[in-house]
Amino acid sequence: MLKIENLHAYYGKSHVLHGVNFEVGQGEIVALLGRNGSGRSTTAKAIMGLVDCQGTIDWNGQTIQGKKAYEVAHLGLGYVPENRDIFPKLTVHQNLQLGQKGGAKNARWTFDDMYTMFPRLKEREHTEAGVLSGGEQQMLTLCRTLMGDPDLIIIDEPTEGLAPKIVELVGQYLKELKNRGISVLLIEQKLTIAMNISDRALVMGHGSIVFEGTPAELRENTYIRKEWLEV
Amino acid sequence: QKGETVKIAHIDPLSGLMAPVGTNQLKSFQFFAEKFSGAKNPAGVKFEIVSFDNKLSPAESLNALKAAMDQGVRYIAQGNGSSVAGALIEAINKHNERNPGKEIIFLNYAAVDPDFTNSKCSYWHFRFDADTSMKIEAMTTFMKDDKDIKKVYLFNQNYSHGQQVAKYAKENLARKRPDVQIVGEDLHPLAQVRDFSPYIAKIKASGADTVITGNWGSDLALLVKAANEAGYTGKFYTYYTGVTGTPTALGQGGAGRVYQIAYNHYNMGGDMAKWMAEFKTKFNDDFYTGSVVTIFNGLSEAMAKAKSTDPVKVAAALEGLSYKNYNGEVEMRKTDHQLQQPLYMTVWQKADKKYPYSPENTGMTLAPVKEFPSYVSSTPTSCQMKRPG
């Protein structure tokens, strides 16, 4: 579905991605791992058209490189950024409303789905999102993106700041997404959850992919883990 | 002095709220500088106008004054805004005192604050317009004979000009028509009010049949407009109906009910009619600041008399000078340098054969209803003129 070849990305003049190649297939959870600053978030932003990049990004056979973010989103890509970016002055419900795309027909998800998934959000439905607790905000961003009915969801460190129990929950929901046929590109820091739920794992280092394989293979490969992941 | 060039600096707003008026007057000066140059004046001098935009600001005017001095200009003409005139008078007084031999004369063609020829009178200042007290004098003389006037409302802008109009109107009415009742008095901020209908409602409620107002610009036009709309049928006695922009804004409204007091009007005939027609074809604008002509007349007479263009001599010659002007015989009163000249009461009405001149192509005109000889409007002065030397 998503195919990335030789992707280079820049912030102004600084060259951050140096030729990234990978694919995400239908209904697949792919974990993108790596240390701080290795360029994972940049990859996500490049796909969404939020940073300058060169190379090819193919989405269902169509090149989306160079397209504007809203065009990319309309083609069915969803993005949950790492810094949450909830809209602080809008209520929870309004935040979700904004997730819906203009002229969306019968989407896979409804408000109720979201509220059953995270009952906490239902309770805070009409509060300004800015005052939500850190964890609640994290739930909200995920739901907001789902409301746009994406076919592939790129999700950047979703478990950051979540209580251990909720982290598990998020893991389950990501699997659930997969069951509904949605692909997931999961950018993670915490190995545990990524290893548990992903079909494939990618490790990124200094702006390129240094490992690709199943979680099991990664577990075996101590060199990669030592050199490119945790100490 | 024949063949000499006399530079006159015109310091008035060419940008901002009052720009249309200032621009019109600059054109008037340029037009008549040409008309009066050379053999066409008794002194045989050539007049040249140097223009400065003072943005209606006293401080900017002082800059302009400095710039004019740098260019060797010795005659300054200004008219819009008493604050500017006041600043110029002060500055010129000080300059003349501190720089003997480089004296400057101030030709005031429209700033009507009576103080300039009373408490603040200056030897270097000459006023060619009639001051507020004189205009009110004539206006009330006219009103004296109109027995229909019973209740008067004073409606003015809240700054010195408006306050003075109100003050003199009260004094004069009390003297000439003690039976007339002043049923209301209002001062509103200058150029701030967009909707005059509350005031009109108030005026109506007071039962006034006549309004005296010194308002100008949109403050006058909107006032009359609001009055028409609200069905107010009283009369307006004004100062500045004929000034740029107001005729258009008034339009057909207010015919027969809006009066103006001034030292000239649109249908003076004679040379003036020719000039106005020529002015109109040349600039597509109306000439109404008659004091410009008065200034050129007076200045050239004085220069001829003084046989010099040196301001010191010209000032001495100009003092007390009597000369013929388009509106009759006029005199620059020696005691206070206030020109004594006839005034005219005119009324806003449809232009016709007799009074054909239609400002801003409105189809309307200001038709004269009465002329007041100089002595009628002449007011006493408290000036203690300090003469140099």
């Binding site: - | 621009t23 340029q30 400065f52 935009d53 400095k66 600043a87 501190r98 000009h161 200058l190």
Partner: protein, 430 residues
């Protein structure tokens, strides 16, 4: 865009800069000797104090005020009343100290009015200052006892005992008085930026919330800064009163406040010296430009539009960016580009200017003949030749300018990368 560069205050450099500043102040009237230029120089000095004091609020405190003229203006009025009292022999202070009266007055009003305005920040602050300014202006026309009505209050600065033959009558003497005040005030205001309160003001601008959690009351910080700014504003006002010897309602008007805002920004609110440039430009624009061309307001508006769009840091930031390039010895690489840019810009502007002047001429002065003098060339506003000529010049200029600009931005980008690299290298080398 916002290339940030910190000016290292080498002490030698500082001495040189301040001495140069003093030298310029001393020599300016010897170079520009006409009446107009002396008074313009004096006004520049005043404007410098006013704009710098305004920038204490805008640049350093992040307070967008629409009513700074209230403090300069009321300072002017008080100084003028004091001057009149001196003339009348009721007050025994030398004329040279009257600006301080203005300063104290400005401060007093800032204490009074600032108490309400500085309780808020951001847009509410801006709007309150606008409201206060409108109120003060309206009152200035209503209360003629203090404000002198439309005619204002005037006075004679030759009052009291002359000191060593200095009467302050001649413009040059008043210029030097202003120059001394300017120098001292600029130095004091610079010093202020280096004090604890000055620094906290920056902190309040950047993140008022956090300031509360390190022990400071943000309102207090803003209030104190406002008072100090009011003091310097008042001094500027007092000097203005001495310079013009008349004070009218316009000194507290919205136009004046707006001018401080615009020109402070144009000069560059992020650098200390920015407002100084702004102030000088302000006087030039108001006094000279308006005499030079009828279209001055149009030019002013356009300059503003483009400056804000392309150089939001003001002139000062442009200068600093190039200084940085110079400091890394790269100015030589780019100066040909600048030359190209400059020449093509002049060509383009000449064309555009000619057309604008012709339009204005048709509008305003068509009766005075069809010829317009522009940059030494006689143009005929009614002939197609002139129009085609001007349009041709402008379009050629535009085309070449665009080429030059591309070349320039390419080089500029390269130089910036090189500099970044160099900085990184130096950092790691440490």
């Amino acid at each position: 865009m916002s290339a940030v560069y910190k000016f290292k205050p080498y002490n030698v450099g500082r001495w040189v800069i301040w001495s140069l500043f003093a030298l310029v102040l001393v020599c300016a009237p010897l170079v520009f000797t006409s009446n107009l230029s002396t008074t313009m120089l004096a006004q520049m000095g005043i404007a410098i104090i006013a704009c710098l004091s305004y920038n204490m609020l805008l640049g350093q405190g992040g307070m967008l005020s629409f009513g700074h003229a209230v403090y300069t203006g009321l300072g002017s009025y008080m100084a003028m009343h004091a001057l009149n009292a001196v003339s009348a022999g009721q007050l025994g202070i030398p004329v040279s100290l009257l600006p301080l009266v203005g300063g104290v007055a400005g401060m007093g009003f800032a204490v009074l009015l600032g108490y309400v305005t500085t309780r808020k920040s951001g847009t509410p602050f801006a709007m309150i200052t606008m409201g206060v300014a409108e109120l003060v202006f309206a009152m200035s026309l209503m209360f003629s006892e203090f404000f002198g009505g439309e005619a204002g209050v005037s006075g004679n600065r030759v009052a009291g005992q002359p000191f060593m033959g200095i009467t302050f009558g001649p413009q040059v003497q008043i210029y030097y008085l202003i120059a001394i005040y300017t120098f001292v005030c600029v130095a004091l205001m610079y010093a202020f930026t280096q004090t604890p309160l000055g620094r906290m003001l920056n902190a309040v601008r950047d993140n008022p919330e956090r300031v509360e959690f390190i022990g400071y009351n943000t309102q207090r910080v803003r209030y104190f800064a406002f008072i100090i700014a009011g003091f310097f504003a008042g001094i500027a006002g007092g000097l203005g009163a001495l310079n013009f010897e008349i004070v009218t309602a316009e000194v507290v008007g919205a136009g004046r406040s707006g001018a401080y805002l615009l020109f402070t920004f144009l000069g560059g609110a992020t650098f200390f010296f920015g407002p100084i440039l702004g102030a000088i430009l302000m006087i030039i624009a108001f006094v000279l430009l308006s005499e030079l061309t009828k279209a001055w307001l149009l030019y002013l508006g356009l300059v503003f539009l483009f400056m804000v769009m392309y150089a939001p840091g003001g002139i000062a930031s442009l200068i600093m960016m190039n200084l940085r390039v110079a400091k890394f010895g790269k100015l030589r690489q780019i100066w040909t580009s600048y030359l190209g840019l400059g020449v093509t810009a002049i060509v383009m502007l000449a064309g555009a200017g000619a057309m604008i002047e012709m339009v204005y001429h048709l509008q305003l002065n068509s009766a005075l003949g069809d010829s317009v003098k522009f940059m030494g060339v006689m143009l005929n506003a009614k002939s197609l030749d002139s129009w085609f000529g001007a349009a041709f010049v402008m379009l050629t200029g535009l085309g070449l300018f665009e080429l030059a600009r591309r070349q320039y931005s390419l080089e500029w980008g390269e130089i910036q990368t090189e500099i970044e690299k160099e900085i990184k290298r130096r950092e790691t080398a440490v």
